[in-house]
């Protein structure tokens, strides 16, 4: 079967790749949005933290024999704790200053993390075996779906919507949203806002690390795996506007799909299509699709 002269198998598999990339964009831009919401800081080391998640899982497996399922929980916790330390020791000292200093500090941290991992592991990249339970694939009739890829999409969407639910529908989320609106007022109500901020940063970082563990069996585990991805995510954030949690999830998924489609119809443009869309959105809606100007 063919659509516009392109076989459905090819179209389907590229849409799948797009959806997987979109899941990563969604989960990373969601983490950025949460951190930005409460800390007003663009977490430039988000990509490095994603890379660290993948590496922690890889090290756990190859050095200690710890399997994928444990790593899926442990790696985000470990990297999240590193995030908590960063917030407590460094970011905390910048809140009263221009937001740009937060971006610059986290940029410096990204250089440090990437440099250390590059020194330790080189840039050739390491591979991570797909866990046994999720190996193999199913034939959907029009295309072949590797089970692990299906799992990535389900797992990241579950985490994304779980996060959305936590922020929009629970009491903790209500405090969080209130804290972003008026932290002094929330503090006066007896809520420990500094602790809330620390938790938020740790959670955002853990989301990035979680994405890293999910990515490990698909992409090469490489010290630079986050550094190019993060800039695409920045473009996603500009397009979405970072106005809402749901906005960042939907924008991430949508752009992943568009990128996948571009790879089918005009492969040369696939690495710049997100930036082209960013330009168009900026011309039409400078505040982004979901943003409030």
């Amino acid at each position: 079967m063919e659509i516009f002269g392109i076989s459905t198998a090819l179209l389907g598999s590229q849409l799948l790749v797009g959806l997987i990339n979109g899941s990563f964009y969604a989960i990373l831009s969601l983490g950025l949005a949460i951190i930005f919401g409460l800390l007003n800081i663009i977490n430039f080391c988000h990509g490095a933290q994603y890379m660290m998640g993948a590496f922690v899982a890889w090290i756990a497996l190859t050095r200690f024999g710890i399997n994928y399922w444990v790593a899926l929980i442990a790696a985000p916790l470990i990297v999240g704790v590193v995030g908590v330390l960063i917030e407590r020791l460094m970011l905390r000292r910048l809140y009263k200053l221009d937001h740009l200093y937060g971006l610059l500090l986290t940029f410096g941290l990204a250089l440090i993390f990437e440099g250390i991992f590059r020194d330790q592991f080189g840039i050739s990249g390491e591979s991570y075996e797909v866990p046994e339970l999720l190996s193999g694939g199913v034939n959907l009739g029009f295309m072949f779906l590797p089970i692990y890829r299906g799992w990535v999409i389900i797992a990241s969407l579950t985490v994304c919507f779980g996060t959305w639910y936590m922020i929009e529908r629970t009491k903790l989320g209500a405090y969080l949203r209130a804290g972003t609106e008026n932290s002094a007022m929330v503090q006066a109500l007896g809520i420990n806002v500094p602790l809330l901020i620390t938790f938020t940063y740790g959670y955002g970082v853990a989301l990035a690390a979680f994405a890293g563990v999910l990515a490990a069996p698909i992409f090469q585990v490489n010290p630079l795996m986050g550094s190019n991805l993060i800039i695409v995510v920045f473009a996603v954030v500009v397009i979405g506007g970072m106005g809402s949690i749901m906005g960042s999830i939907l924008t991430g998924l949508g752009l992943g799909l568009i990128e996948g489609l571009t790879r089918v119809f005009y492969p040369e443009a696939s690495s710049v299509v997100v930036f082209v869309i960013m330009v168009i959105v900026l011309l039409l809606r400078p505040a982004g699709l979901f943003g409030k100007s």
Binding site: M90, L104, F107, G108, I112, G115, V238, F275, L282, P286
Partner: protein
């Protein structure tokens, strides 16, 4: 009311004069290629500082202008066969046009968004530089001849090349100096300090920001084009976002919003990189990162800024 002129401001012309003389005699004491590298990055950092230090706009994509101008200059000189000064001019104009394009898009947003947009746009240039055949992909443009200045003066001689680079640097620095010390520069500062107030005073803030962006981009391009001639190479690393980060670090380390800061910062970083490359290898990035973190956390005025504050505190006037 006349604000008291600070020591640093009042002695600035004298200091610049001394630096100019040092610049003239330097190549006889220090390896010229090293000096040329410092001058190229110093011009790049000064151009960047015009934007961040005086207009308050953090562009995280200035590598795009450095790199694009480098490629344009390299292609013009190597493949079209123009003389070096035409190559540099072409690179500068190309970077200025790109700056006009990027600037008109990026100034629609402010603050962190501005930084992210410039970064994303610059990454687009990076991807194009990889994919377009003419830029040589991963290899970059190699074997760019230095040629003869005005078709007469042979630039393959390092001393001759040095004085050309020095003249270009002085020209670029003079433009930045004049821009800052003009009514236009005052308006930029007003926008930096309080944008809503500048708007309410009737200034077309968007226009001023855009002009500052274009000047900055063009001068960054001039630095990039010159650098291509010096090293006879336009490489992918010049358009990579690490180069954008490096220029932020140079400016921050030297002193944001000071005239001499970017020069000091560029010289420090280039010297550090040259020294460290042999001894610590891949730890260079880590050390750069550590300097970044230290600057942001406890050293925000930078080397020149701290010195100025020190002089002010000690009461010399």
């Amino acid at each position: 009311m006349n604000a008291p002129v600070s020591f640093a401001e009042s002695k600035l012309p004298l200091l610049l004069g001394v630096l100019f003389v040092i610049g003239l005699i330097a190549p006889f004491a220090v390896y010229p290629t090293f000096l040329m590298k410092i001058l190229c990055y110093a011009l790049f950092a000064c151009a960047f500082n015009l934007l961040l230090g005086f207009a308050g706009l953090l562009s995280f994509g200035h590598a795009a202008f450095l790199g694009t101008a480098g490629y344009v200059c390299g292609m013009m000189v190597r493949d079209v066969g123009v003389t070096p000064e035409v190559g540099i001019l072409a690179g500068t104009v190309a970077a200025g046009l790109l700056g006009w394009l990027f600037g008109s898009l990026a100034i629609k947003r402010t603050g962190i968004y501005f930084a992210m947009i410039t970064l994303a746009l610059a990454q687009m240039v990076f991807f194009l530089a990889i994919q377009i055949k003419e830029t040589g992909g991963e290899d970059g443009l190699q074997g760019v001849p230095r040629g003869h200045l005005f078709g007469l003066l042979d630039l393959s001689d390092n001393i001759a090349m040095y004085y050309l680079v020095f003249a270009i640097f002085c020209f670029g620095f003079f433009i930045i100096y004049r821009t800052i010390h003009s009514p236009f520069g005052q308006i930029l500062k007003a926008i930096r300090e309080n944008e809503p107030r500048a708007i309410s005073l009737g200034y077309d803030v968007a226009k001023f920001k855009l002009i500052a962006f274009i000047i900055s981009a063009a001068l960054a391009g001039m630095a990039g084009a010159t650098k291509t001639l010096v090293f006879q190479l336009a490489s992918l690393s010049d358009v990579h976002w690490h180069a954008s980060g490096e220029v932020v670090l140079m400016t921050l380390l030297g002193g944001l919003g000071t005239i001499l800061g970017p020069i000091v910062g560029a010289a420090t970083i280039v010297a550090l990189q040259t020294q460290l490359a042999d001894s610590v290898g891949s730890w260079v990035t880590v050390i750069m990162g550590v300097i970044f973190v230290i600057c942001v956390l406890s050293f925000r005025r930078g080397i020149v800024g701290e010195l100025q504050a020190l002089i002010k505190r000690s009461g010399v006037n």
